[in-house]
Symmetry: C2
Subunit: 293 residues, 2 copies
């Protein structure tokens, strides 16, 4: 099987701004920072109803070059739907970047989608029947796009064949049963920590190549996972992303606050012919050279 | 056609050290610095018989992490064979790294091979009949390995099909007419400046993937070419190499004096599963942390 249609465009929108994800587009950088996982102080602040850290995170990620902002409010023992509603309203008041609404709680996704003015990316659904049945109707109702993970009730599949098969299942169910356009499906090829298994990125790269070639859909994943537990994570991240982009990754939920990592993505865009004549690259260099020290 | 044999190993040797290039091996870093092209002062020194810059270049590249050193003595209006002979003897006295003997002059390659104690890499031959006939007998006679460029009398081919066809011709001629083992042929997939044509790296990556898949031979190229004329060349180089390694490049003649570029190669080795458990990566990080500031 080989996808031979036009490049699929996943179009995300805020009230005033549009972002396009596609295999013929510059890489889409989704800022990962608005997420309390592993941030004890931020968790405590959120429990106390203090969202001031979100303001700083928005500013840093906009300055860093984010195209989209992921928003996760998963703090145990809080009213996550209410918190996500509040965070999304706050982020919309601070920036015109589109958002990625990130939760494993269906009610929180529902509250987030209701609060958002535009076309959001929902993060995420799996290939499990009950998750598909719970989340895809929401995606359809709000005209959103959705990140889908090719794993089911079993363990996360460690081979590309299984990930491809589950990707096929997700595409069939979403398009045929729920009428969601194929362009609004963003598959997560599942990036795992290299420290746990040094062959894992090879499986992820193969999955990416095959999803691009066979299904043509866009992809996104949590890029920072790959260097988890290793020293010098920035250098690892700055190498992994160009490799993944070569294999077909079209966006990532990633660290956009580290200039080294963002620059690696922009450099890879040049070599993938997604930056005509390197004009964006050259312009960014000139702007940096002209900036006061 | 699909190569389905064992991974081919290009083994280079100095009097006391062996380096293996292969698709299942860590990337082979060939230091590019001992080359007067574009170095006016070095050219003047060489004309005056002063090779002291070579000593500094050897030291800097050994410290930078080179596996092999390229040696080019192409200065107009000099006796290149004599200069190359002298440079190779000098380099052998300074380091145990194997060398890559780099000249377009057949007599210089001959003098270099005669002066070298070990198994060198010859840089380079093209697919032109008269170049093959002049250089391959030398390679065979000295039991060397050779870098071969898939271009002929015409312009450098800008499509992968032509590069693949010429690669096939080179392999057939070298193995069948001269009895050179396929493992001793290192094909240069031809990396051109991105500033001249922003689609050029896509052609090079496709050429690499197809040479790896169809012929299985090892590859090397001049990596610094790719960022020629662009700003922030180090960041571009640090992105291009991991992308090229993903596509099958097994070595490069490159800038090993820039830590950012060398680190990108080492990081890509981790993700390509050429660094078991990331042990080399972790050890390098520990050594850096332990070094006096």
């Amino acid at each position: 099987m080989r996808y031979d249609g036009e490049p699929l465009h996943t179009v995300l929108r805020s009230a005033s701004k549009e972002v396009v994800i596609g295999h013929d587009q510059r890489f889409c950088l989704i800022g990962e920072r608005i997420n309390p996982t592993g941030r004890r102080l931020f968790q405590e602040q959120l429990r106390a109803g203090d969202l001031s850290a979100v303001e700083r995170d928005v500013r840093a990620q906009v300055e860093g070059g984010a195209d989209v902002l992921d928003i996760n409010m998963g703090v145990p023992l809080t009213d996550e739907p209410a918190l996500l509603d509040q965070a999304i309203r706050l982020v919309q008041s601070l920036t015109d970047l589109p958002v990625c609404i990130d939760s494993s709680v269906v009610e929180a996704l529902e509250a987030g989608l209701a609060a958002y003015e535009g076309k959001a990316l929902v993060n995420s659904v799996t290939a499990e029947d009950e998750r598909l049945a719970a989340i895809l109707p929401l995606v359809k109702q709000h005209g959103a796009a959705v990140i889908a993970l090719p794993n089911d009730e079993d363990e996360i599949p460690m081979d590309a064949d299984k990930r491809l098969a589950l990707t096929g299942k997700i595409i069939t169910v979403a398009t045929e049963e729920y009428g969601i356009p194929r362009a609004d499906l963003v598959i997560d090829p599942l990036a795992m920590p290299i420290g746990a298994d040094t062959a894992t990125s090879l499986v992820t790269f193969e999955t990416m190549r095959r999803i691009r070639d066979e299904y043509g859909v866009n992809m996104s994943c949590g890029a920072s996972n790959t260097s988890f537990g290793m020293p010098d994570r920035h250098t690892l991240g700055a190498a992994w992303l160009p490799m993944a982009m070569s294999a077909g990754l079209t966006s990532a939920i990633m660290d956009v606050r580290t200039p080294e990592i963002v620059a690696a993505v922009k450099a890879a865009d040049v070599f993938l012919n997604h930056d005509d004549w390197g004009m964006a690259w050259i312009a960014a260099h000139r702007a940096k050279a002209a900036a006061p020290a």
